[in-house]
């Protein structure tokens, strides 16, 4: 859009690219553009031609006035008019070609970039996701790429064209009359100066706007997500007031930008009038002195527009271009982040079965490679130290211990969400770090403590367990857990929408869906991290049996707080303070009369009291 209120995207200091960064972003972009390069060349040529057509207009007017009107030559006037018409038509056609070419190339490139960034992102390791806030990563894929989309669909052609028009017009007016050109250029410094002031001020104000919108939207979102808690505790009034504060802050921030532009635009319009006045006044004197022709004065007035608009537009577009550059740089930063838990060259497939061996493993969260901002997370406290453990094929092992002991962490190491700081984890004799990720995910599957349902049907959610499973296979897995029975009573059966985060289901039903995924996946080693904590013991038992039946001879590791579950396992490992303090069968550990037997006594006491 020309002229409108193209809102400049705000920039904060970290968004600003210095010259070196800008150069490297551009170089990188150029490499990435590979297959699209020829289109870029052609589009540039067409753009130059189109700009020439735009600039030819006033020139032809001048010719028409001087050769036609002043010299009283009708055919010169006709020639000028027809040429003007032809040039305008060519400009029309070229304009369409440019916009279409740039958009098409740009959008296809963005399509490629989205897929590429997402593939890279989703392949990064768990440690990365714990460090980075989900919101920020989502922003990489959305607002950052959207900024580029904005640039392509609105700004890029305009930006380049405005530069061409501005310099083109200046060259032309100097060519026509350097004296009048110099006189007119008197008004350029104030406009440039005002535009720079405007850019700086509005940038500062828009930063505030961006910040206040962010806060306001966060309040809005949290107020909606937590609306049930808000109502349960009767805090609607408090939250509405809280929202009023952030909402009004957004209003104030926005109003500040309006104040700034209400100061800038008067000046610009006024200078425009001064420009015309100078041309007419100074031009009048010069025409009188026969230094220039009347046609030149007319052409100058028309070209004035071509100098004026680009300055205003560029000052607004500048920020769009800058923030796109910053967005690209952030995206490149993400693409440069390597998966800490990646696949080694020459990685081998894990054997179909084998012993899971944890050898003298120590672990702390944090540390690791720098994140996308180049910040290295501080290393956290040691969570596991010197844990050694073997899980035999076909064995059921329980991990028990107090909250924060490190059970979930140990489970995560078993499936290589993280690599241990020290020691090693092997399966069938192959270090997990040397295994292909595909075979690893196929052999070892974890049902995490924080089960997660995607918006969609029950069936679609179960399919996550094994991508590409047929409906029949999914139904079989669901039936095996006795879920079919539960969902049959739902209006849409297995095609019931579970809604955001599975809010349509009861807590236990959600866990059953997660477990059905595990049943469908049917791996050699299944790790269940409190995957049955919300089930009634009857259903829990039924699920355990079903899983056992399904995965006859499979290895299972369960993290459980219910010792009744632990009791049924072949062996029990007690984790406390990041150490493996005891391991053995239920009976052995009871005999030893140490940690587990104390735990069990406490648990049993609960049972006793009710029994």
């Amino acid at each position: 859009m020309r002229g409108g209120w193209v809102e400049p995207g705000p920039l904060d200091d970290e968004d600003k690219l210095n010259r070196d960064q800008a150069r490297s972003v551009l170089r990188r972009l150029w490499t990435l553009l590979g297959p699209y390069r020829s289109a870029v060349y052609v589009a540039s040529l067409v753009l130059v031609a189109q700009t020439a057509c735009l600039l030819a207009g006033p020139w032809l007017v001048r010719y028409g006035v001087d050769a036609g009107l002043i010299d009283k030559n009708a055919s010169a006037l006709n020639r000028a008019s027809i040429a003007y018409l032809i040039v305008a038509l060519i400009g029309l056609v070229l304009g369409r070609i440019v916009i279409w070419m740039v958009s098409k190339t740009g959008e296809q490139f963005l399509r490629y970039l989205r897929a590429r960034v997402f593939k890279h992102l989703i392949g990064l390791s768990m440690g990365f996701f714990e460090r980075e806030k989900t919101g920020r990563l989502v922003a990489r894929m959305t607002s950052d790429i959207d900024a580029l989309q904005e640039l392509i669909s609105q700004g890029l052609v305009m930006f380049v064209q405005n530069i061409l028009i501005f310099f083109g017009a200046i060259v032309v007016i100097f060519w026509m009359s350097w004296q009048l050109a110099l006189a007119v250029l008197v008004i350029v410094p104030p406009v440039v100066f005002a535009s720079r002031w405007f850019r700086r001020e509005s940038n500062r104000a828009y930063l505030e706007v961006r910040e206040s919108i962010g806060t306001n939207m966060a309040t809005l979102q949290e107020g909606l997500e937590g609306v049930r808690v808000v109502q349960a505790f009767g805090r609607e009034g408090g939250w509405t007031r809280r929202f009023r504060d952030t909402n009004e802050a957004q209003f104030e921030a926005n109003l500040e930008t309006v104040r700034i532009s209400a100061r800038y635009f008067p000046l610009v319009e006024f200078t425009g009038v001064v420009g015309i006045a100078v041309i007419v006044g100074a031009g009048g004197v010069m025409v009188n002195e026969a230094i220039i022709s009347v046609g030149t004065v007319l052409a100058f007035v028309l070209y004035l527009n071509n100098i004026f608009e680009p300055i205003q537009q560029l000052s607004q577009l500048y920020n769009t271009v800058q923030s796109s550059g910053a967005a690209l740089q952030k995206i490149f930063g993400l693409l440069d982040t390597e998966a800490a838990v990646g696949e080694k060259p020459g990685a081998v497939d894990l054997p179909a079965e084998g012993v899971l061996k944890i050898g003298a493993v120590s672990f702390a969260y944090g540390g690791g490679p720098p994140d996308t901002d180049g910040v290295v997370a501080p290393e956290g406290p040691i969570v596991l130290s010197g844990v050694s453990l073997e899980v035999l094929p076909g064995e059921r092992l329980a991990l028990v211990g107090p909250t924060g002991a490190g059970k979930s962490t140990l489970a995560k190491l078993m499936v290589r969400f993280y690599d241990p700081r020290e020691g090693h984890v092997t399966f069938g004799g192959v270090d997990l770090r040397d295994a292909t990720l595909a075979s690893l995910r196929e052999r070892i599957v974890v049902v995490p403590q924080e089960g997660f349902l995607f918006a969609g049907t029950v069936r679609e959610n179960v399919r996550v367990g094994r991508v590409g499973a047929t409906n029949a296979e999914i139904d079989a897995a669901i039936a095996a857990l006795g879920l079919a029975q539960i969902f049959e009573s739902f209006p849409d059966g297995l095609d019931t929408e579970v809604r955001e985060r599975g809010s349509r289901l009861s807590a236990g039903e959600k866990q059953l869906v997660s477990l059905a995924r595990a049943a469908l996946a049917d791996p050699a080693l299944l790790v269940l991290d409190e995957a049955t904590s919300n089930l009634d013991p009857g259903t829990e038992r039924q699920v355990e049996l079903a899983l056992e039946r399904l995965s006859e001879g499979r290895t299972v590791v369960v993290v459980a707080h219910r010792l009744s579950t632990a009791e049924r396992c072949d062996r029990i490992a007690v984790v406390d303070g990041g150490r493996l303090v005891e391991i053995g069968t239920h009976d052995e550990l009871i005999e030893r009369r140490e940690r587990y037997s104390r735990l069990f006594a406490a648990w049993d006491a609960g049972q006793e009291r009710t029994a």
Partner: protein, 591 residues
């Protein structure tokens, strides 16, 4: 029918916009006045320029040229001041409207019943509060600006027609096409852009979901599935973006082209008129300047037409939410919470979340004041539902639900809810400090009472070890707590509310057995003198209750102590997996 609905929605949208704008009438009047003065100033400039060229240059009167130049500059000052005023008032009105509407929407959403939120998606509601309200904002900005534009258009047409009617006709002949093209373009691109926004939202939905559920995605190696989903969305985005680009490629160059046609006409016909001595050269300049002046107003009117339809549709959608009645409200003549011991009676209560599937059918249950009752039952049996009916998150469909003999539907909701503390089974913490989360029910609570609540819920020990203790920010954007830790903060939150009735919905599922007896002891203290509903699967937690009620098939099918039920109820044994005791179901041999 559908069309009528659509029209009705738009009409409602207009009403909403009208009501929202009305309080700003002084600003509107000021803005329009400034706009008209601005227009008048602007229109005189070309006249002055033409006069300068014709009177001055041709007649060689330089003094006159300079005088006219000075007048131009003076007019420029007026124009500048007025443009500032009109812009400021236009934007201010729009921003105020936007802010007020969003505030109303939020306040209403905060009060809407659970059943509404069950069906609404957060993303959709956010879109109402953002995109839709912004459409209205854009329209409101355009309105006073367009008023000035209309005046400009009329002024230009009149001035040109007075000068040379034929030339005016020729010069302006192409301009309505700009208006038409702009209106058509806006109309055609609006749905495409709306689709594009929708596809972008869907795409960000896939990204957001994949990243929030990254443990599940990685745990099952389901990356490929998510990548395929994303690529499908990216293709849809590309498709819509190209459709939008096609429209833009068709329209944008016209913005330069159509005015150029006018200029050609002015040059050609006007030139011949000059040759014929009917027109001055200065008029050619003036006409050209007027054409420039018309470009924006014409586009603006086109935009306004299209924006009006978008804004009224958006306003209609916002209005639909605003006029959704609160299903759960104070009955006329609602009474205070009865001052009794807190006895709860369900009498033949029937309830379902939607048509076709009853969750509770004829629940009879009495809980004496001060008593602690455990609800036990199979997954999906309706236990949590029972807990949600008491504070009237949903209203029952049949039967009666009484607290101390008073129907809950006749008690003032604020009081009812303040006397009921609930720990939800899925813990939601706000992105605030631990202290603010615990003191949620009463932000003015003293630090001592926060500490006491934390101690009673067994949270104190780990909270003091957090990086900033009670000031550590938790929640989605804060420190990641383990499942058990989150649950305890939620318990502390309910404890601090100091309710007469306490509902613990599976509130100890992630609490480890070592802590369990500590919490049990503490909870015993908390439950003292309160009526407590404990929903639990674990015998140890069930043991907190005086009495156990077995919920099955939406009814209370058995009650008694744990022992009695174990002995008497086959179903109870099944649910607690203690069937071995009675023997009828053969389970696997102990390992």
């Amino acid at each position: 029918m559908v069309v009528d609905d659509e029209r009705e929605i738009r009409r409602a949208g207009w009403r909403l916009i009208g009501n929202a704008v009305r309080p700003q009438k002084w600003w509107i009047a000021g803005g329009i006045t400034a706009g008209i003065v601005w227009t008048a100033a602007k229109l005189t400039i070309p006249l002055l320029a033409a006069a300068a060229i014709d009177d001055g240059l041709h007649q060689g009167d330089i003094g006159h040229v300079i005088r006219l130049t000075c007048v131009m500059i003076a007019v420029g000052v007026v124009q500048g001041i007025c443009t500032g005023l009109r812009r400021y008032s236009a934007f201010r009105i729009a921003l105020r409207t936007e802010t007020d509407l969003r505030q109303r929407l939020f306040a209403h959403l905060q009060r809407l019943h659970f059943a509404f939120h069950d069906h609404a998606q957060t993303g959709q509601l956010m879109a109402r509060a953002n995109t839709d309200i912004q459409q209205i904002e854009t329209l409101v900005i355009l309105m006073p600006l367009t008023a000035a534009s209309l005046v400009t258009m009329i002024g230009v047409i009149v001035i040109m027609a007075l000068e040379d009617p034929v030339l005016a006709l020729l010069a302006l002949g192409a301009m309505p096409f700009l208006n038409i093209a702009a209106a058509r373009f806006s109309k055609r691109i609006a749905p495409v852009n709306m689709d594009l926004q929708q596809e972008l939202a869907d795409l960000s939905g896939v990204v957001e979901e994949s990243l929030s559920g990254i443990r599940v995605v990685k745990g099952f190696g389901a990356e490929r599935m998510q990548i395929e989903k994303l690529e499908a969305e990216a293709d849809a985005v590309l498709d819509r973006a190209l459709a939008s680009a096609r429209l833009r490629a068709g329209f944008m160059p016209l913005i330069d082209f159509l005015p150029t046609l006018s200029m050609v006409a002015i040059l050609f016909y006007g030139g011949h008129q000059v040759l014929a001595g009917q027109l001055e050269i200065g008029s050619i300049l003036a006409f050209n300047l007027y054409i420039f002046m018309l470009i924006w107003p014409l586009r603006m009117v086109g935009m306004l037409i299209a924006q009006a339809s978008r804004a009224s549709a958006g306003g209609g959608r916002v209005d639909q939410i605003l006029k959704t009645d609160l299903l759960i409200t104070d009955a006329p003549g609602a009474v205070a919470m009865p001052v009794g011991p807190g006895e709860i009676r369900f009498e033949g209560v029937r309830f379902g979340y939607g048509p076709g599937r009853a969750v509770l059918n004829g629940l009879d249950l009495t809980i004496r004041g001060g008593e602690a009752v455990a609800l036990v039952g199979a997954t999906g049996g309706g236990k949590s539902t029972i807990g949600r009916l008491l504070p009237r998150f949903y209203d029952i469909e049949g039967g009666a639900l009484l607290i101390d003999g008073v129907d809950v539907r006749s008690i003032r909701i604020a009081e009812l809810r303040s006397e009921i503390g609930i720990v939800f089974e899925d813990t939601f913490l706000f992105s605030d400090s631990v202290r603010e989360n615990i003191a949620f029910a009463n932000p003015e609570a003293s630090f001592e009472s926060v500490q006491r609540a934390a101690r009673l819920s067994g949270a104190e020990e780990f909270v003091t070890k957090l990086p900033d203790g009670y000031d550590t920010i938790v929640g989605e954007n804060g420190f990641s707590l383990s499942g058990g830790q989150r649950q305890r903060i939620a318990i502390a939150r309910a404890v601090l509310a100091d309710p007469r009735i306490l509902i613990l919905d599976d509130a100890t599922s992630a609490v480890d057995p070592t802590k369990e007896h500590e919490i049990r002891a503490a909870l015993g203290e908390v439950m003292e003198g309160r009526t407590t509903l404990i929903i639990a699967h674990r015998p140890a937690t069930i043991a907190l209750a005086d009495r156990v009620v077995l919920i099955d098939d939406g009814r209370a099918i058995a009650q008694g102590t744990h022992d009695e039920l174990l002995a008497s109820s086959q179903r109870y044994r099944e649910v607690l997996a203690q069937a071995e005791a009675a023997g009828p179901i053969a389970l696997d041999a102990a390992p």
